[in-house]
């Protein structure tokens, strides 16, 4: 059998029991230390990516004096008025009172109910760093800071300077393949197209539409329809000269198989009572909720979903646009949490945000530019909520946390953030460094925002 055929089969059946038998002998999967026993429970991670770089230091804001004054001085015409901020009351206080952007009432309610937490000033890092080290050019920094696609890649892959080939969710799926052998669908599913985040070294993600999978409509019905489909599949399975044709055929084959399976599973699942917003993000999260509702029909034990929404690159008109963006996120996240409660899986599903970077605290007139550290939201009943994790930085321009022009130097790394989620998801401690390659450089392997696995 030609090598390509072996590989193709492996791609096609990724996530099923057959995969292990076909795994390439040289592959990293053979070195894994995860116990190859099926999980006894169900868990899901849902990544909500905010494309463009969310200005999150306008999302969670110090409300009390003197910190609000520092904030207002830095942000000038972009500052959220003090009186508009939604007060939040963390269980553990650092002496400062905080408020949430007024557009995020839903997230405020989740936070107050102990079902949401904020991870503060987190960003891509290769090692802990300081302003002094950066100034002295002694710091080992992630490549191409402040560039959209490079920093998205960092969040997705955590690869630092290394060549980017897989995402951290993809590596989790690789590690867990032995534990989820009864799954009829790949662990990783995107509602927003192909993404490095979900791509494994071995396993391949499945992409469906915002409102679910789509079947091929052109075969027709009856015996001709069946033969048409068989002929179509024979053509896909042929050895193509072109690697592009080969890769394209793989996608078509996965589309064909999964659409039927997933559509049937969704069709036999009762509809949800929870209403979702009509926004793109609301639609995607609504579909994720339906997929979770159908989990048992597909034999799913572990799932990582990727949903996304854009428009956060607010170089212009930030004060007009940010309220709408944050309201949209808040409403969709809140509806999704409600749906997980309805389904009785609120403790088994954890939703978390990622974004390219935070934004400059200083203004370019009516907007902001690309920066570094930011604040992320984690939601679910397994989250140790109503807390802020990490140190809220000094927002003083030129202050100790400022790289320049109000770019916050992260004090927590994206690796730590990912590892904390991965551990809860069931990745053994010894494998966390494969998920998060820079984790060993940081003293805390777990940021503590998730309940014990």
């Amino acid at each position: 059998m030609p090598r390509r055929t072996i590989q193709r089969r492996e791609l096609l059946v990724a996530g099923t029991a057959a995969t292990l038998l076909l795994a390439r002998p040289h592959s990293a999967i053979t070195q894994m230390t995860a116990t190859p026993a099926p999980f006894g429970d169900y868990r899901a991670l849902v990544c909500v990516f905010l494309f463009g770089g969310n200005d999150s230091f306008n999302m969670l804001v110090p409300r009390s004096a003197p910190e609000y004054g520092v904030y207002a001085a830095a942000r000038q015409n972009l500052a959220v008025p003090q009186a508009d901020l939604l007060p939040v009351a963390p269980l553990v206080t650092d002496g400062v009172e905080y408020g949430l952007h007024p557009a995020m009432t839903g997230v405020r309610d989740l936070f107050d109910a102990g079902r949401a937490a904020f991870v503060v000033n987190v960003g891509p890092l290769l090692e802990p760093t300081t302003k002094d080290a950066i100034r002295a050019r002694l710091a080992n920094l992630p490549p191409q800071l402040f560039s959209h696609n490079d920093q998205q890649d960092q969040w997705h892959s955590l690869r630092g300077d290394a060549q980017t080939r897989s995402g951290w969710a993809g590596r989790i799926a690789d590690l867990m393949r032995a534990n989820v052998t009864n799954q009829q669908l790949t662990t990783n599913v995107s509602l927003n197209g192909n993404t490095l985040f979900l791509a494994g070294d071995e396993s391949v993600a499945y992409a469906m539409g915002a409102s679910g999978p789509l079947k091929f409509t052109g075969f027709g019905s009856g015996s001709f329809g069946r033969e048409h489909r068989a002929a179509f599949e024979s053509v896909l399975a042929a050895d193509h000269t072109s690697l592009y044709a080969e890769a394209f055929a793989d996608v078509q084959q996965r589309a064909l198989e999964n659409a039927d399976r997933v559509t049937d599973a969704l069709a036999s699942t009762p509809p949800l009572g929870t209403a979702f917003p009509t926004s793109g993000l609301g639609q995607q999260l609504g579909t994720v909720a339906r997929m979770i509702a159908a989990r048992e029909r597909l034999g799913m034990q572990r799932q990582i979903f990727f949903v996304a929404t854009g428009g956060f690159d607010s170089h212009d008109d930030q004060t007009e646009n940010q309220p709408r963006l944050l309201a949209n996120v808040s409403a969709a996240l809140t509806a999704f949490h409600t749906a997980t409660v309805e389904l009785g899986v609120a403790s088994a599903v954890t939703t978390f945000t990622q974004s390219d970077f935070g934004r400059t605290l200083t203004s370019n007139g009516d907007g902001t530019d690309h920066a570094w550290g930011g604040i992320q939201i984690v939601i679910g009943d397994a989250v140790l909520g109503r807390r802020l994790y990490g140190r809220y930085p000094s927002l003083a321009i030129g202050g100790p946390d400022d790289y320049g022009s109000g770019r916050m130097i992260p004090t927590l790394s994206a690796d730590q953030y990912a590892a904390t989620l991965a551990r809860w998801f069931g990745v053994p401690d010894a494998d966390l460094d494969r998920v998060a390659p820079n984790l060993a450089k940081f003293s805390a392997r777990d940021l503590g925002f998730m309940a014990a696995a």
Binding site: Q7, R8, L11, F51, A74, R75, Q76, Q144, L145, F146, S147, N149, D161, S166, S190, G193, A199, D201, V204, A207, P213, L214, T217, G218, G220, S221, G222, S223, F224, E227, A231, V235, A238, H240, T241, S242, L243, Y244, A245, A247, F248, V251, Q252, A255, N258, A259, G310, D313, H315, D316, L361, T362, S363, N364, G365, D366, H370, I397, G404, S405
Partner: protein, 555 residues
């Protein structure tokens, strides 16, 4: 595709099969259906020209291949370059003024398809489309209500497609569509008292995405490495800030003042204007250690800064690689990139940045013209190009002449000037998991060829071939219909039908597997001499080939 129509086809087909199977006992057998002789397969010369046209146009046709054979590749290119640009803006401006901006965006999509599918200046349109994926502006975002600006920007790319890159760079920089999209429009000098500093958006993306990229390149497009084997960044944050200061002081032309500039139908198609009081006067650090002295005019700063970028050694390999990826190959050899980059540096008459010479070098290169199919040569076709090729091969037209659709991105995962961000529809370095990635190869177009999007397009081909062909009942005036008359005429002759579709869509190079499967499938359908049976065979054959992996790639 209305499901009912498919079901009806299936049921009626079955009925026809039953009739042929058991009817006519005792009668004379019906005479065999009349079919014309099958067309000849394309000659090697025609086939090569066909591949060339898939690189240089919105889809090869046999007639165009004959033209190329007659004129020669270079002759055809020269003739194409001499044609005036088919434009978008005059079309929009000729429409009644009362329509809403979203209807006008629909008209913009319409004229884009008209030019792409039917425009005589095919090479120019294809290059404009390629340039629009490098100099990205998009309807998605702040330009949603500015269809005229987008049309005018696209016209600029079409007009300058064979001009000089330096001029193009300046025209793009000063176009209000770009000004709005990457926020140079309204960018102002620093105001330290209010913590305001120049917007870095355009400064960053012009270098990262339009001209030089993030790391220093050899002329062949491979990264230069430092002594410890690491790539060398082309710029740092200070240089971004230097350029950000350069791009200050510009907004819509003819405004009462810088701060009172508002978009109008007129000024969104005129180059931005400098308002000197809002230009930063400090010295500005540029690339390669150059600093612009303080106190100069915004126009002079802009000229010198764009010269500074244009003269950077990365521009030639960067632009060469990007354009090659859009036109001919996802993974060009370094030698191919270098040959094209050398033409960028010097067109043979000492001129740098001559895009006509660059386009010629890309299309006439031995690597693009090789007749040997390899596993990594060529590329996956973009979804839009798969559809336009089908339409061009089969004379796809609506009775009304319109190609209007409000949201092509929902069908294709891409649309003209509808990228989700300045990073285009796909990354030039996207590598799908599997053999391509393992071999260190990239396939940008595969980034949007995910399971869902592929299904949408495959279903669109089904609708097009099965229920919007020249015999389909119930098509509307605005439905694009393909003419499959030749296929219908020859339909009862399965082998002849396969040859006919093969030459129109696959340059007579259909693989044995595809031929066998298609033949077997069509043979399952009744070959009776009636319009229904003929049309069904013809339509199914076109759909089966259009949906195949072979049609999805460009050699």
């Amino acid at each position: 595709m209305p499901v009912g129509r498919l079901l009806w086809l299936g049921a009626a087909g079955l009925a026809a099969a039953v009739l042929t199977g058991c009817g006519g006992s005792g009668d004379d057998p019906a005479p065999p259906p009349q079919t014309p002789p099958p067309p000849p397969a394309l000659t090697a010369e025609q086939t090569a020209a066909f591949h060339f046209l898939n690189q240089a146009t919105f889809g090869a046709t046999v007639a165009a291949a004959d033209e190329v054979v007659k004129q020669g590749y270079e002759g055809w290119i020269d003739a194409q370059m001499a044609l005036p640009a088919s434009l978008e803006l005059p079309h929009l401006q000729a429409l009644p003024a009362s329509q809403s901006m979203s209807e006008r965006q629909r008209d913009r999509i319409d004229i884009w398809f008209r030019n792409a599918v039917t425009g005589p200046d095919q090479l120019r349109q294809r290059i404009a489309f390629a340039l629009s994926q490098i100099f990205v502006v998009s309807q998605v975002g702040a330009l949603e209500q500015a269809p005229y600006a987008l049309a005018s920007f696209y016209d600029l790319l079409a007009t300058q497609a064979f001009g000089n890159f330096r001029e193009l760079l300046e025209d793009v920089t000063l176009h209000p569509a770009m000004g709005v999209y990457l926020s140079m429009l309204g960018n102002q000098r620093p105001d330290p008292a209010r913590n305001i500093r120049p917007d870095e958006n355009y400064a960053r993306e012009l270098m990262q995405l339009f001209t030089i990229g993030l790391v220093e390149l050899e002329l062949d497009g491979t990264p230069k490495l430092d002594a410890s084997g690491r790539p060398i960044p082309t710029y740092d944050q200070e240089v971004i800030e230097g350029f950000a200061h350069v791009y200050t002081g510009w907004t819509y032309a003819g405004a009462p003042s810088f701060r009172q500039a508002r978009r109008t139908v007129e000024n969104q198609v005129q180059p931005m204007q400098l308002y000197p009081d809002f230009h930063a006067t400090s010295p500005k650090l540029l690339l390669r250690g150059v600093t612009l002295p303080a106190g100069r005019s915004g126009t002079r700063d802009l000229t010198d800064a764009l010269d500074n970028v244009f003269e950077h050694p990365n521009v030639a390999p960067f632009v060469a690689q990007r354009l090659i990826q859009r036109l001919t190959a996802s993974n060009p050899s370094p030698a191919y990139v270098e040959r094209v980059a050398r033409r960028f540096e010097n067109d043979g008459t000492g001129v740098r940045g001559n895009l006509a010479a660059v386009v010629k070098a890309i299309l006439l290169d031995e690597e693009a013209r090789s007749t040997t199919a390899t596993d990594r040569g060529g590329k996956l076709k973009e979804p839009l190009l798969r559809m336009t090729q089908l339409w061009r091969a089969y004379g796809g037209r609506a009775a009304s002449g319109s190609f209007a659709m409000s949201n092509p991105a929902s069908m294709f995962g891409q649309g003209p000037l509808q990228s989700p961000s300045v990073f285009n529809f796909y990354s030039p370095t996207y590598a799908p998991p599997g053999e391509l990635r393992d071999a260190g190869l990239v396939a940008p177009e595969l980034e949007i060829a995910n399971e869902y999007q592929n299904t949408v397009l495959t279903n669109a081909f089904a609708t097009q071939a099965l229920s919007r062909n020249s015999r389909s009942p119930g098509v509307r005036a605005d439905d694009v219909v393909i003419d499959i008359g030749e296929e219908i005429a020859i339909a009862p002759d399965t082998a002849g039908l396969v040859v006919t579709v093969d030459r129109k869509l696959l340059a007579s190079e259909m693989s044995p597997t595809l031929r066998d499967e298609l033949t077997r499938l069509i043979d399952r359908l009744p070959a009776t001499d009636d319009d229904f049976a003929r049309t069904r065979r013809a339509a199914q054959a076109v759909y089966f080939v259009a949906a195949s992996p072979e049609f999805a790639v460009q050699r």
